[in-house]
């Protein structure tokens, strides 16, 4: 994007960009909500929304209108400031993370040289929002949910950041545009399969999505920190979640799948680049929704144990291996081999945590012939 849109001065230019972000993110979040409902429906042998508008496309609009019309409740004993500011602190940082996303060559809101650092720092501010929502609601279920969410997010920050670090080491820069352009020949997933898996799992946990959605476990704590919110405040949480899903899709495709540059993105112009970004982000979003439809949720201690005992050591090992390869000038294929070995190890460790189910043996023996006690 040109440095100053329409030749406006810096302040107005910034305002226009901010408005662009808000508009794009709101529309994208509503579209993603619709897509999730339709896709989850098909995974569950049913159709999603179908009556509001063609193919149910206006369902999110109808929901938004309904939510605007609801009464804005606050429990009497709830702490006013914490309760009311919580939702804002959940979704505003995600909107801010949109600023450094690379969509096409030269088209981004503002590409920062410290892009990755900015993204990680800004998206972790939403943890504070969850805790505020949980504490401010004056409700035991909400407090449980808020604390669980904070513990989970903090635990998964470390593998999240470390896998990004290994990618940044390879590219030699924290600027996201540089990383994407550097993948014009080969996407990073070829060199860093282990980091991709760890980052994907950690990103699922950061988004509070299945199988890591225990803070919003509907069948246990009935909504977690959201339980006292109604109307537009409640929808802000969901706006944040789906906007975050979109950003994660674009970000992961930029970091590991080559973004707009691979294959042949840089040669074929911005139309093709937009198509590539859209395709890769859609693929990842489909994968995330597919996972949501297929997996139960992990318990909080299992979730944290998985992060600290499995993902973190492997992420550290990945960074160390990257360091070795770069310092001693080893060929890059070493990274692929070690990465694939790491993936196999991760799969083995995950399977080892549970016992394989045994089919119960049918017994034709009558009660009297065996001691029952």
């Amino acid at each position: 994007m040109p440095t100053h849109l329409l030749g406006l001065n810096t302040w107005l230019d910034g305002l226009v960009r901010v408005l662009l972000v808000v508009l794009l993110m709101t529309v994208t979040a509503m579209l993603l909500i619709w897509a999730e409902r339709k896709l989850l429906g098909r995974f569950q042998a049913r159709i999603g929304p179908q009556r509001t508008g063609p193919f149910g496309l206006l369902q999110s609009v109808a929901d938004a209108l309904k939510l605007i019309g609801k009464e804005d409740l606050r429990p009497r004993n709830a702490d006013a400031w914490t309760f009311e500011l919580g939702p804002y602190l959940v979704f505003v940082p995600i909107f801010l993370g949109f600023v450094v996303q690379p969509f096409m060559a030269g088209f981004h809101i503002r590409m920062l040289d410290l892009g990755i650092l900015y993204f990680v720092a800004v998206s972790s501010v939403s943890i504070v929002g969850w805790v505020m929502a949980g504490w401010g609601s004056d409700n035991r279920y909400a407090m449980l949910g808020g604390l669980r969410s904070a513990a989970q997010s903090i635990s998964y920050e470390l593998p999240f950041v470390l896998s990004l670090l290994s990618v940044a080491l390879l590219a030699g820069s924290l600027n996201i545009d540089d990383i994407v352009v550097g993948q014009a020949g080969v996407p990073n997933i070829v060199w860093q399969p282990l980091a991709f898996m760890i980052f994907f799992i950690a990103a699922l946990a950061e988004l509070n999505r299945a199988p890591f959605d225990i803070p919003v476990g509907e069948s246990e704590v009935v909504g977690g920190p959201f339980v006292e919110y109604s109307g537009i405040r409640w929808s802000m949480f969901f706006l944040g979640e789906y906007a975050g899903l979109f950003i994660t899709g674009v970000f992961v495709s930029a970091m590991f799948l080559g973004g707009y540059a691979w294959p042949f993105g840089l040669q074929l112009g911005i139309g093709f680049q937009l198509l590539l970004t859209a395709l890769k982000a859609s693929l990842l979003i489909f994968l995330v929704i597919w996972i949501r439809g297929s997996m139960p949720r992990l318990r909080i201690d299992q979730l944290m144990g998985y992060s600290w005992k499995v993902l973190l050591p492997l992420a550290l090992a990945q960074v160390v291996v990257n360091g070795f390869v770069l310092v001693y000038g080893l060929p890059r294929i070493v990274l692929t081999i070690v990465g694939l070995a790491g993936v196999v190890f991760l799969v083995w460790v995950t399977e080892r945590a549970v016992r394989r189910p045994r089919v119960p043996r049918p017994a034709a023996v009558a009660l009297g012939s065996e001691a029952a006690s």
Binding site: A45, R140, P211, P296, R299, I300, D301, R361, A366, S373
Partner: protein, 374 residues
């Protein structure tokens, strides 16, 4: 209640009220859990929210009117509830049920067992955390079974189809073909559920090793059904005190040894396969004939006496204790509820587990509140 740990911190336990309106209490059931952080220290169940006085009402009903009330106790497995009741009346009045009625009763009872277990799969999957997917997979096949029941009896859930002496009316002429269709659909559904849940590592991590109850404790609590068979006790009323025609077909009793939540789930899954086999064998043995004894009186009067009859309902031992003082109504009708006895073990199984696991333990006992409260 104040617990002291390490001299500096004084923590207080949290009283968490689960229900009676809650997505995972499977009906109107209330538990008060005393929770220390995330660990459950005590569980106090409150039952009685669905008490409708079924037993007392049946004292004012004759034997045909009372069938509707028995349906509504165990509403997910109504055929089994009706079966116990009519078998008790037949035992007191000494009625001989014709063979054709026995085979048809067996087919319907086993199909109802499958549909009840499919309902369990749905609710249990939602408790474990997959919103919707196992529920729809289970209910899709349950819909096929219930459509069949509607074609035979006229109703989808409260059948009122069994009568003392046999069946109310005969099955439609395309019965065998329809049952074959339903069985084919059910097999696909059980395969889907099996593939979705049984091998899933997250599901295994959530359900293995929690809610364990030993065989001795289970017997002490008076548990029955798949809940006790999962702890290694070889107790199945269909084999130990055979009724209908269970001694004439080839089937297995499914037991497991671990006694945890996963074993209970797996036992129910394998029981569904066994029920499918049983239905196929019964279809082969079905022949034309009478469905009620000849010369049945219009209004059945039973001689004085008392009898206790029990059958293997999907949830355990569903027993009817019937006292008759002559006449066309029972003097006292008591329903021995499987779920209420199984529910007594809830505290033993949940104390020491996490809150999320306690919810799963409750789900794995598979209660239906109509039977707990009657």
């Amino acid at each position: 209640m104040v617990t002291e740990s390490a001299h500096e911190f004084e923590t207080r336990d949290l009283l968490l009220n689960v229900g009676p309106q809650h997505p995972s209490t499977h009906g109107v059931f209330r538990m008060v859990m005393q929770v220390d952080g995330e660990v459950v220290r005590d569980v106090i169940p409150y039952v009685g929210y669905l008490h409708r006085g079924a037993e007392k009402l049946c004292e004012t009903m004759d034997y045909r009117q009372g069938i509707g009330f028995m349906d509504r106790t165990e509403y997910l497995a109504s055929m089994n509830a009706e079966l116990s009741y009519v078998m008790a009346v037949e035992a007191i009045a000494d009625l001989q049920v014709p063979d054709r009625a026995q085979w048809i009763r067996m087919i319907l009872v086993e199909l109802n067992r499958i549909s009840s277990h499919l309902m369990f799969m749905g609710a249990f999957g939602v408790d474990a955390g997959i919103i919707g997917t196992p529920m729809i997979y289970g209910w899709r096949e349950r819909e096929a079974i219930i459509d069949l029941f509607e074609e035979i009896t006229g109703d989808r859930m409260m059948f009122a189809y069994f009568r003392p002496g046999g069946l109310a009316w005969d099955v439609p002429t395309n019965f065998a073909a329809r049952v074959q269709e339903v069985i084919a659909a059910v097999k696909q559904g059980i395969k889907d559920l099996d593939g979705l849940l049984t091998y899933n590592e997250v599901f295994l991590a959530r359900t293995q090793g929690i809610g364990v109850i030993s065989a001795a404790d289970a017997i002490d609590f008076g548990m029955s059904g798949p809940s006790i068979r999962a702890s290694g006790v070889h107790l199945d009323i269909r084999r130990d005190e055979p009724y209908l025609k269970y001694s004439e077909i080839d089937w297995n009793v499914i037991t497991a040894t671990e006694g945890d939540v996963f074993a209970r789930y797996n036992c129910r899954l394998q029981e569904m396969w066994e029920s499918v086999r049983m239905v196929e064998q019964c279809l082969d043995r079905l022949e034309p004939g009478l469905i009620m004894p000849e010369k049945m009186p219009r209004m059945l009067r039973t001689p004085p006496g008392e009898v206790y009859v029990r059958t293997e309902a999907p949830r355990g031992e569903y027993g009817i204790y019937l006292v008759s003082k002559g006449g066309n109504r029972p003097y006292r009708l008591k329903v021995r509820s499987a779920c209420l006895s199984n529910l007594q073990a809830l505290k033993q199984m949940s104390v020491g587990q996490y809150v999320a696991d306690a919810i799963l333990v409750l789900g794995s006992i598979d209660i239906v509140l109509g039977e707990v409260d009657r």
